[in-house]
Amino acid sequence: MNKTFLGLLLLSNLYAYEKGDTISNGIALHIGATQEKLYIVDFFASWCGSCKKEIPLISKVNKHIDKNRVEIIGIDVDKRVQNGIKFQTKLKENNNLNFRVINDPQNLVISEFSPIGMPTLYYIKNRKIVKIITGAVDDIDKVLLQDIKELE
């Protein structure tokens, strides 16, 4: 982890992000959400059963989006990085994970967002949070495609 960004994270206000909030510069730089496109940030972990079911469907969506306009970013919050990497590797082997993942073993990124459940999806445009989906959702792929159509 880039120490400058870590420092920025630590200095930034640590509070729960809600719809309408603007994410800090530190976070935006750290997760690479600085361009003028719609970012969908997915917080997940290897021990989260609903996350396991959702990731393949999100990857399915990722195949059909214009990556110049929409980007999906995964944040793996496994405290043991090796568990997270093993989990991601397995998903990739089965073609069930095809979006960029950032490991957050110290839980600094997720602490700033502070979602009320797992998994949680944050839609971010111009550093502003435009939608949050918390918890398991039926047909998340269809929901995502519809949301992208409306928000991009």
Partner: protein, 71 residues
Amino acid sequence: MKTITLISFSIIFFSGCVQDVKPWEKEILAKKTMEDSSGNPLGKQFEEHIYFSKEASKGGGGVAGGGCGCN
């Protein structure tokens, strides 16, 4: 009345001395080894019915266990 008091006390007591565990901090709590049945609910129910058949007590393990002509 005593029941309500006991439950209310438990809620208040535990609310006061417990940690607010965040959703992303639940890795250990989600482990199979933390489950009451240790991941084998059928095995646990076998055992509970052995005790139900050989002892005079019941209860405390959930409400549904099915009937049996065993005690």
